[in-house]
Amino acid sequence: MIEIIEKKNTDRMTNEMRIEFAAVSDNEAFARMAVAAFITPLNPTLEEMSDVKTAVSEAVTNAIIHGYENRGSLEDRVHMGCILRGDVLEVEIVDRGVGIADVEMAMEPLYTSRPDLERSGMGFAFMEAFMDNLEVCSDVGFGTSVKMYKKIGTSSWIASEE
């Protein structure tokens, strides 16, 4: 009984996971599927599931091709952490790559630092559109951290069970 009451407190961490993987493009699909599996117990709608998968895919792709300059080296690692606080998902994607000198400019829709790689410049715009909140923190030469938040599932079956 006590546990159920505590779960209702949205500030409390209810689940957590952390993955580290090589910064190679094969892992883009792995990363978004891992997050999708992690939020499945919350009964997300198809739309919420797609939103999260797209946002994670954007952030991980950025880490691989911009942070680690598309080197495809197994030495370069991407860190991904997910935290659930009640029905709010927090995803953090961190690389220890080159960093972003001007975060504001990088977040401009259609801006891309790598037109040679045929990027659309829509990565951050999609993350913003599909998640509730987005925080980007970057340091040139040290890396980039992208934090995204989204409320998952509109109906909580734990509450209605009582």
Partner: protein
């Protein structure tokens, strides 16, 4: 897997289930080989099988548009579901790509 077909002056690209950066590098390279060697003028992206796409897919469309538009070619998107349609509209693709109604299957 994606597949390619040439019908008259159109390169038809049937996109895979998931279009992300990893797969899009491959699609772009193959599409360009067809465009160059077969001298096709227009490109049609078929989203019938596609359930997931990120901004890399937009990059593939933009890249092909840049290659063929200066020779008067056009780019089409067919069978896009609501999800894909939303991604296309968010990136302003409706200005350069003819997004055909899903019902008009060829």
């Amino acid at each position: 897997m994606e597949d390619f077909k040439i019908i008259d002056n159109y390169l038809m690209i049937r996109l895979p289930d998931e279009v992300d950066h990893h797969i899009s590098v491959d699609i772009s390279a193959k599409a360009d080989r067809y465009i160059m060697s077969k001298k096709v003028g227009n490109v049609v992206f078929d989203f019938e099988r596609t359930t997931f796409m990120d901004s890399s897919g937009i990059g593939v469309i933009l890249g092909r548009y840049k290659k063929i538009s200066c020779f008067g070619g056009k780019v089409y998107a067919i069978n896009a579901d609501n999800r894909i349609r939303r991604l296309l509209l968010l990136s302003g693709m409706q200005n350069i790509v003819e997004i055909m109604d899903s019902k008009t299957k060829t």
